[in-house]
């Protein structure tokens, strides 16, 4: 359970979130929508404690993470598997080492076991053949997949967080990633996907949160989404009208 209680956040003097309050259950499949620069990425970073709010509380399973020190946050972070906007692969390491990063850090697996596990994870995301590529040799879609594989490497997370998992991808790759996201959440694990593409949000989410000027202006399911007449949301929905 993720709870935001009246969270304010600013980067220096630029205030980004102005009083955010919402609850997300572990099994929910949520999309956070909003224009560029509305603070979507910031919300994900707040959830895993990479940033601290100026005021307000953030509770993860009842624990207030705003009071925790960096080393105490570890147990909280283990509950999530987060994929950053641009994949955030370590660009000095090849795909295998990227995926193996946490395995090497936290387990005492032998070289063969690691190789096996990495191949298994890459098979899940469908790019086993890229195992010895360097990050800069990957296409955008492959990049995201490797990032997802890497985030799966350690333990079974309670919830997946995806930042713009499909942005900038061609429709086929976007579709594949959406399928992958649904696949990973099949057993009831929830996810929060941050995006500004309503099309993709509809594929993977059942609850939609719309962010505008640092506040939540819409929070509801697909039916409510269809009915909403909030101006900016209407613009987002327009995208869907153009059917051939």
């Amino acid at each position: 359970m993720i709870v935001f209680e009246d969270v304010y956040f600013s980067y220096g003097t630029r205030s980004v979130l102005k009083g955010l309050t919402f609850k997300v259950k572990e099994s929910e499949r949520v999309a956070i929508l909003g224009g560029s620069g509305e603070g979507k990425t910031t919300i994900l970073k707040l959830i895993v404690g990479l940033l601290k709010p100026d005021s307000g509380r953030i509770l993860i399973d009842g624990e207030d993470i705003t009071l925790k020190e960096e080393d105490e946050l570890m147990d909280i972070r283990k509950k999530f598997s987060i994929v950053f906007q641009d994949g955030a692969l370590f660009d000095s390491l090849n795909v295998k080492e990227n995926v193996a990063f946490c395995l090497r850090e936290y387990t005492k697996m032998s070289e063969e076991e690691i190789e096996q596990k990495v191949r298994e994870l890459l098979r899940i995301v469908g790019i086993e053949e890229a195992i010895y590529y360097m990050p800069d040799e990957l296409s955008g879609g492959m990049h995201r997949r490797v990032a997802i594989a890497r985030s799966l490497a350690v333990t079974k997370p309670k919830m997946f967080l995806y930042d713009e998992a499909t942005t900038g991808l061609d429709p086929i790759n976007a579709e594949n990633i959406c399928q992958l996201i649904n696949e990973l959440s099949k057993d009831g694990t929830g996810h929060i996907i941050v995006t500004h593409k309503l099309v993709d949000a509809l594929r993977v989410a059942e609850r939609f949160i719309f962010l505008k000027d640092g506040r939540i202006v819409f929070d509801g399911n697909i039916v409510e989404l269809k009915e909403s007449q909030y101006p900016d949301l209407v613009i987002f929905k327009k995208e869907l009208q153009y059917v051939i």
Binding site: L50, E70, R77, F84, A88, L89, E105, Y106, V154
Partner: protein
């Protein structure tokens, strides 16, 4: 104005914390041996050639200048002694540190900076890895090992360059040159020369890592932090060199 002073103080505090935790990381688990060795390879093997070239020519130039000046006073036989003292106590450590700063310090800042921009540091933190220990400590440790080593090599090459000029250009006795070098290789000189590279190495590594890790805002931010890393390191090296010299002379009992 008050805002800026406050910011400066909090930046300084962050810097001290990074320097302190980075250094303490050497003694605390987990140890990232592989990263340290990789850094040593990059900093050491990678800088060797340029250190050799720079030191050789500095040694030769120094020897050339001094021979010319001393010859007019009829004191040519002091060339070795003066070149030796200058190189070992002052010129060697400072030049090698400046070369190291331009090559390795800039590299550290830009590498860490691009990791910040690419969210790689965030990834590390999410995976529960302390970026200070994983990235800063290996860089500090490798600088503490490599810079003194490079300085020693640089000193030797500079003296060799000085020898070449003294003997083959200024027609001095090679025996006199080397024996005066041997004379000045006493505890005082060697000690003053070998304390400096440790301090300089620490300064370069911490300043560069700090600048890299505080990078903000894309390619421009990267440029700014790389430049800042080099400029600030150079200034700190030069100033601390003066202060160290003063302290060392005092500690070692020289009178001015």
């Amino acid at each position: 104005m008050v805002e800026r002073i406050k910011r400066l103080i909090s930046d300084l505090q962050d810097f001290y914390l990074l320097a302190f935790n980075g250094l303490m990381g050497i003694f605390r688990r987990p140890f990232y041996l592989k990263d340290t060795i990789e850094q040593m390879d990059y900093a050491g093997a990678g800088s060797l050639l340029i250190v050799l070239i720079v030191s050789l020519f500095i040694g030769m130039a120094l020897s050339l200048q001094l021979s010319a000046e001393l010859a007019s006073l009829g004191l040519k036989m002091y060339t070795g002694k003066i070149v030796g003292i200058a190189v070992i106590r002052e010129v060697g450590p400072v030049t090698v540190a400046l070369v190291y700063c331009g090559r390795v310090g800039a590299g550290m800042a830009s590498e860490l900076g691009s990791m910040v921009i690419g969210h790689q540091i965030d990834s590390l933190r999410v995976f529960g890895v302390d970026p200070i220990k994983k990235l800063v400590t290996p860089r500090i440790l490798s600088s503490l090992i490599i810079l003194p080593a490079l300085t020693t090599i640089g000193d030797a090459i500079a003296l060799l360059g000085g020898y070449y000029v003294a003997v083959f250009v200024s027609n001095q006795s090679g025996y006199v040159y080397w024996s005066s070098i041997r004379d000045i290789l006493d505890f005082e000189n060697v000690f003053s020369g070998s304390v400096k590279p440790f301090i300089f190495g620490f300064i370069i590594a911490t300043v560069s890592c700090y600048m890299g890790l505080t990078t903000k805002g894309g390619a421009k931010g990267l440029r700014r932090s790389t430049t800042n890393a080099v400029v600030l390191s150079i200034i700190l090296i030069i100033i601390s060199d003066f202060m160290l010299t003063r302290i060392l002379l005092y500690v070692l009992g020289f009178t001015l």
